[in-house]
Each structure stands twice: as C-alpha cells, then as structure tokens.
C-alpha cells in the first residue's frame, strides 16, 4: 500500500528534528527525488532542509511533489527574539526580510494550541541577526517554506512554530545541538497539537477534483482522445455528474460512448434529467 502522509514537518537542523522524530516515531526513508534526510510515520513526513530559505523552499517543493497526499506543512525550529528562552511562538505573519514579501497563515483556534502563549511575526533573515525586536522573531527558513508550500496548500495549510533560543540576554554562541534539541523537546506538546490539526485538515473540493481527474484520465486513456477544450468541458460535466447523481459514471456506462461529443451529450442528458427537490 502506498505511503500517504497528511503532514509535512520541516526543520532546518537534525537537532531540531530529533525530538520530533522520536515523539512521532518516525523512521528514516530514502527517496530518490528528495536529496535531504527524510523520515516518515503513518501520518507524516519530516524533512531536514539545512539552513537557509532556499534549501528550505527546494526541500519542501520536492516533498510536496513526491507526496501529493500532504494536506499541511509545519515548520518547526528555533528563532531569536525577546520572549523568554524556550517559549513557543506561533507565526501570525511570516516576512522575508530581503524581499519584504509577507504571508499571513490562517491560525488554528486557540483551543487547539493551548500551550502556545505567544504569536508573532517570524522574519526570515539571510544571516543571523542579534538586533532583537519586540515585534518579530528571527529565523532563516520560514519564508522559504511559505514560498514553496502556500501555492500548493493555501494559507491555512502552512503553519510555523518557533522556539526562542537566543535573545538580548542569551547570545547565539551559547547554543549547541543539545540545547537546540532540549528547546524543541520542551514544546513537543505544541508540535503534536499542530501536527494533529493539520493532519485532520480536509479539502472536500480537492478530493472531489481528484475523483473527477481519475475518471477523465480513464476516458482519455481507454475510451476517447479529446482536444484541450473538450477535455475541459468533459471534466466540468464529470464534476457536475458526480454532484448531481452522487457518483461517477461506471466503466460499463462509458464504454459505448466512443467520441468526446457523445460523452458530453450523454453526461448532459443525465445531469439535466436528475431530480432537484428541496424538502
């Protein structure tokens, strides 16, 4: 049975990934198209992207292409800021400092993440920054994750959780991989809550369209080749058929219809003859 993860977890460092992998019981997996360390569980796939927004964008794009079942992406990592060390910050905005580009994730309800006390702008920088500010925390990947994932999953499907690792009182130099793992370990409850939230995300329109595409592909491969325009019309009619009749036409029903015109006419008649009643 093919592996169909619902969530893609994204960390820059192995030290960030380690506690998450352990908590979610993830195992190493090699994938020819993803040239970064990859781990999987039943529900999730985790990629260690390396540092920086470009590696993050490239890795996320590769994972989303390899696993179309993914419905949500969660970027987990450390960040610099003025909040207390070890506190979890959920991004209400992600900004790429270099380009000024901004994303606004649709935040989950507060009851879903009761342990997260802070929400903030995550500003992605190209080099470590120690000019800490109250209105943002600094990281080096989030903007890359958003660049790759938002066009695929929308602003509700991509969340970013950062744990404060350095600030005005705690310099970057004091951090090593053990400290990083310990910081993430301290916020695993929030990570799991967001993982579960994204895993439960449903997209009825996407599921509907997947079913339509499967039948359209079957028609083109086995029944009748068609032009681009006919294909568009056919997909529209199949979608309406699914909605109005409650199911796709069967292979037996489609078999005698050997031209795109005949298929479209047949679908049109079926749809127009279907009953619409209220009450």
């Amino acid at each position: 049975m093919p592996h169909s993860p619902r969530v893609c977890l994204v960390t820059a460092l192995a030290a960030e990934a380690r506690p998450v992998r352990r908590e979610l019981r993830m195992a190493r997996k090699d994938h020819a198209a993803v040239h970064r360390p990859l781990y999987v569980s039943d529900q999730a796939v985790l990629v260690e992207t390396g540092i920086g927004k470009l590696p993050a964008a490239a890795s996320v794009a590769a994972v989303l292409a390899c696993y179309p079942s993914v419905r949500g992406v969660l970027n987990v990592g450390i960040a610099g800021g003025t909040e207390p060390i070890g506190s979890a910050c959920l991004a209400h905005a992600v900004q790429d400092r270099a380009s000024g580009r901004r994303w606004y994730p649709d935040l989950p309800a507060r009851r879903i993440t009761p342990t997260i006390q802070h929400h903030t702008t995550v500003e992605t920088v190209d080099a470590p920054d120690t000019q800490y500010r109250k209105d943002a925390v600094f990281d080096m990947e989030a903007a890359g994750v958003y660049t790759a994932a938002v066009p695929v999953l929308g602003s509700a499907g991509v969340q970013c959780l950062k744990v404060i690792s350095d600030g005005p009182e705690h310099s970057l130099e004091t951090i090593d991989k053990h400290v990083v793992s310990a910081l993430i370990e301290g916020q695993l409850q929030a990570v799991v809550a967001l993982h579960d939230y994204l895993a439960a995300r449903s997209e009825p329109a996407r599921d509907h369209n997947t079913e339509v595409l499967q039948t359209a592909t079957h028609i083109e491969t086995n029944i009748a080749r068609h032009s681009e325009t006919e294909g568009h019309r056919l997909r529209l009619m199949l979608s309406r058929h699914l909605t109005c009749i409650g199911r796709m036409p069967t292979a037996e029903e489609l078999a005698p219809l050997d031209t795109p015109r005949a298929l479209i006419d047949w679908l049109d008649t079926r749809i127009n003859n279907s009953a619409v009643t209220y009450g």
């Binding site: 649709d106 209105d135 329109a205 909605t243 109005c244």
Partner: protein, 339 residues
C-alpha cells in the same frame, strides 16, 4: 472571535479600543493595511469560512456609491454602502464567495465618515435619498459586536431626507426594538422556504425565526421589507414556494409591508465559475445555468416560469406597486462597482 487583526490607522480609534477590550482574550494582531491580509493570494475561502477572523480597518475613498439605474424600492436617488465586508452566514448562492479572496470579516470602524458621506449625498438634492446596507455584508448579524445600527440611527434621526434599508437574515433586532420605530428605516429580510434555508443558507436563522423577528418589528411599528431573492429552481418549486408564501403572508400584516423584491438565482459569470471550483460538490452550483449578459442564470423559459408563479402569488396579496424586480443586469453592475 479567536483572532482580530488591527489596521495601523485605526489602532487607537475609540471603537477599536472598545472592541478589543470586549474581546481581550482573542489574539490581537497588528497589520499595516487590511488589504495586505484580505486580498492576499493563497487563501481558501471555504476553509476560512469555518473560522473567520475579524479585521478592524479604516474605509478610505468612496464610501457611498450610487446603485445602478433600476435598483431601488420606489425612490429615485439610490445609493449603497458597506461598513463591513463579508457575512457570518454561509449561503451557497452568495456572490461574496466569488467576489472576495478572503472569508474573514472586515469592519470599517470609521462609521462617522460613512454618515458624513451619506449626509453630504442627501444634501446634494431636494429629492429623498435611499441608502442600502447589507449588500457586502448582513446589516444586523454582527451588530452586537459593531454597534453600527445604534450609531447610524442616532445620527439619522435628524436627517429627514435620508431613507435607509437594512437588509438582513439575522434576528439581532434588539437595537431596533429598544428605540422608537423610524418610518425612514426599512428592515428588509431575505426569505426562503425552510427546506432551502436548511440546504443552502448554512448558519442562518430558520424561516420561522425570521418571521418571528419580522412580526416583532411590525408590532413595534418599523417598516419591513420582504426580499424573495434568490428564488431557486427545483422540481417541486410550485409546491415549495406556494406553501412558503402561504406561511409568510399568514404571519405578517401584509398591508403594512413596505415593499417586496423578487429575483431568481443568478451570479456574475466569473463568480459562478469561482464558486463552482470552490464548491464542486454543491448541487445548486451544478444545476444547469446559461450565460446571459454578464451573468449565469437559469435558462430563460425556466426563469420566467419560476418568477411568474412567485410574482402572481405576491401581487395577489401585496399588489403590484410594492413589488420590485431584481434584474440580472442590476446584479452584474452592482458587483462590478463593488469590486
């Protein structure tokens, strides 16, 4: 409200401060301009609708717009305004789903600027001016949060030439009932048969609840309007709408009804396409429609049959003079102006 975004320009507005104080436990997120968030790409309207955020912003530019010719309920100078964008309800036929990228609710807190513009507009002519609210939002549904109705009526008690229509499906009529009825304010309810309310108007008060609100408004002396729009085609339409009109006419004092409007299901073509992609599983949006002008509407013969039946029932009880048609072109022009 779980998350409230606050535009920089209204961060210290007294109405913003009051609202944030009342929703102190919500996440308060500062933003520069509401459009950065509201118009951002990559939003999923359908998903956002499940848990919309509130955006507090300032309305700049034109706040009061003329309605297209032919749109009105008896007046000659007709205008509309939107102190809010989006609606708490989730009606499958609603064009707002096609017009906006975001399902978040925007409240423009600078109400006074709207009132100033309305007053200026009124003073431009000796003719009465009609102002329609409830086109880009439901006029009353969020009133417990915004307090718009009270603020507006306080101001418009003095403006003898201004007439207002508050269009709604909401039963939040307390601010109206606690003050004296104003003969220049028509509270207009969109009404549909209960089976259609249940199937297509998600999250709205039932027909019985709306009729109850209308009865209470009538008893308090408020002019009421009935908006039979959109009428939806179905195999049992005659029976469904027949029983529906019986129910509505029996519940209300029809002699005292200010006006009714009638229109069938139609959407600007681009919005219909967007909605169909958003809700491919919606039976209403999968129904056969055809392109007429800039709109997608029922085939002409079907539409005529449907509306004739309704028109006959309404005029029989209300008379023809108080019934107004909502034409296809009106919808298209209004949408074009709003966007």
């Amino acid at each position: 409200m779980d998350t409230i975004y606050i535009e920089e320009a209204v961060a210290t507005h007294p109405r913003t401060e009051r609202l944030l104080e009342r929703h102190a436990s919500a996440r308060h997120v500062p933003i520069k301009r509401y459009t950065d968030l509201f118009n951002a790409a990559g939003q999923n309207f359908r998903e956002q609708k499940q848990q919309p955020a509130l955006i507090l912003a300032e309305k700049k530019g034109k706040r009061v717009l003329p309605t297209p010719p032919g749109y009105g309920i008896g007046g000659t100078r007709n205008f509309y305004f939107a102190h809010m964008l989006n609606c708490i309800y989730d009606c499958r036929y609603c064009f707002l789903q096609g017009m906006y990228r975001s399902a978040n609710h925007v409240v423009f807190v600078n109400f006074e600027d709207f009132f100033d513009d309305m007053e200026r507009t009124t003073q431009e002519s000796t003719e009465p001016s009609w102002f329609f609210s409830g086109y880009d939002c439901d006029s009353l549904a969020l009133d417990p949060i915004t307090g718009f109705v009270d603020a507006m009526l306080d101001r418009f008690d003095d403006n003898g030439k201004a007439f207002i229509e508050l269009r709604t499906k909401s039963t939040q009529i307390r601010p109206l009932l606690k003050r004296d009825a104003n003969p220049r304010v028509v509270v207009a309810f969109s009404l549909s048969p209960e089976a259609i309310v249940k199937a297509e108007e998600h999250g709205t008060p039932s027909l019985a609840q709306r009729l109850d609100a209308l009865q209470r408004l009538q008893a308090a002396g408020w002019p009421i309007g009935l908006r039979f729009d959109p009428v939806i085609a179905c195999d049992n339409a005659n029976e469904l709408y027949g029983e529906f009109f019986d129910q509505v006419f029996a519940a209300l004092d029809m002699d005292a009804v200010h006006s009714a409007t009638l229109g069938s299901f139609r959407l600007p073509a681009a919005f219909h396409e967007k909605l169909r992609r958003l809700y491919p599983d919606s039976r209403l949006l999968a129904t056969a429609v055809e392109k007429r002008g800039g709109s997608m509407a029922y085939p002409e013969a079907l539409e005529a049959r449907l509306l004739d039946h309704c028109r006959e029932r309404i005029t029989h009880t209300l008379g023809a003079k108080r019934l107004f048609d909502c034409s296809i072109d009106t919808a298209v022009t209004l949408n074009a102006q709003a966007s």
